[in-house]
């Protein structure tokens, strides 16, 4: 796939940067012909991935480093969220809907990312960090019916 545009943003693991990340990615996504609904879904998925990096990757400590890459291809947006935090010990358990280490959280972060994006993968190693890669394709939209006759 041909890369049309790419951004890279690096920031401290501070909660205020969640909004910055999703607005930047939404602006990038607007360069493709996504619907408003697509863009809303991209914003939620980005928010979840960056929130996870801050809360779980770095335990809420602000001195961690989060890098987000956004890449525009001909008909897809790829988002990569990278942290060098503690990693996920049991990925299978973490991916379960409603799994959460905190009673005030819903454990839906991975569920939103999986459901709202076309492709989703997690690469993690304990003590080394986590990389979440998400792709949203343009093709996931209803195609107008052809009228015959």
């Amino acid at each position: 796939m041909k890369i049309l545009n790419q951004i890279k943003i690096e920031f401290m693991s501070v909660p205020d940067n969640v909004a910055l990340a999703r607005v930047a990615i939404a602006s990038l996504a607007a360069q493709l012909d996504f619907t408003l609904n697509d863009i809303e879904e991209i914003k939620v998925a980005t928010s979840e991935a960056v929130s996870n990096a801050i809360i779980h990757g770095y335990d809420g400590e602000p001195m961690g480093n989060v890098t987000i890459y956004g890449t525009i291809y001909d008909s897809a947006l790829e988002i990569k969220v990278v942290d060098k935090g503690r990693g996920i010990g049991n990925l299978e358990e973490a991916m379960q809907p409603a799994f959460s280490t905190c009673p005030e959280r819903m454990g839906l972060g991975f569920v939103f990312m999986q459901s709202f994006m076309s492709d989703f993968s997690v690469d993690t190693e304990v003590g080394q960090g986590t990389t979440v890669t998400m792709i949203k394709r343009l093709e996931n939209r209803p195609v107008a019916m052809k009228l015959e006759g």
Binding site: P15, D16, A19, S100, R105, M106, L108
Partner: protein, 112 residues
């Protein structure tokens, strides 16, 4: 940025929220609502989400947390007029199945 304004009607607390309900806001929102519930000795909470433009699982967690706090003591929660993108997330998360949605504050006040 988020703003929360409160009103009280007997044992009902109305919280009017504006802005984006995400990780950065979740703690402030939780504290503000809990303090207002305690101060007003309220057992019913009406969340007016009509001016909330974005919500993610951090925001949903705070809503669910208030539901878990109120309902064991016979309390009730209602959500008013979420925007379509917010309502979609409420539905997807299952919150819409446990907390009733109303079109207006008046309707919620009359019903709960």
């Amino acid at each position: 940025m988020i703003d929360v304004h409160f009103d009280k009607d007997c044992d009902k607390l109305i919280a009017r929220i504006s802005g984006e309900l995400d990780l950065v806001i979740a703690d402030k929102f939780r504290t503000a609502v809990d303090q207002a519930l305690d101060r007003g000795n309220c057992s019913k909470l009406i969340l007016d989400l009509s001016r909330v433009t974005f919500i993610d699982s951090s925001g949903l967690g705070v809503i669910l947390g208030r539901y878990k706090r109120l309902t064991p003591q016979g309390g009730v929660m209602a959500i008013v007029a979420p925007q379509p993108q917010v309502e979609k997330i409420l539905e997807f998360s299952g919150i819409k199945r446990i907390i009733k949605l109303y079109a207006s504050e008046k309707e919620a006040l009359d019903e709960i």
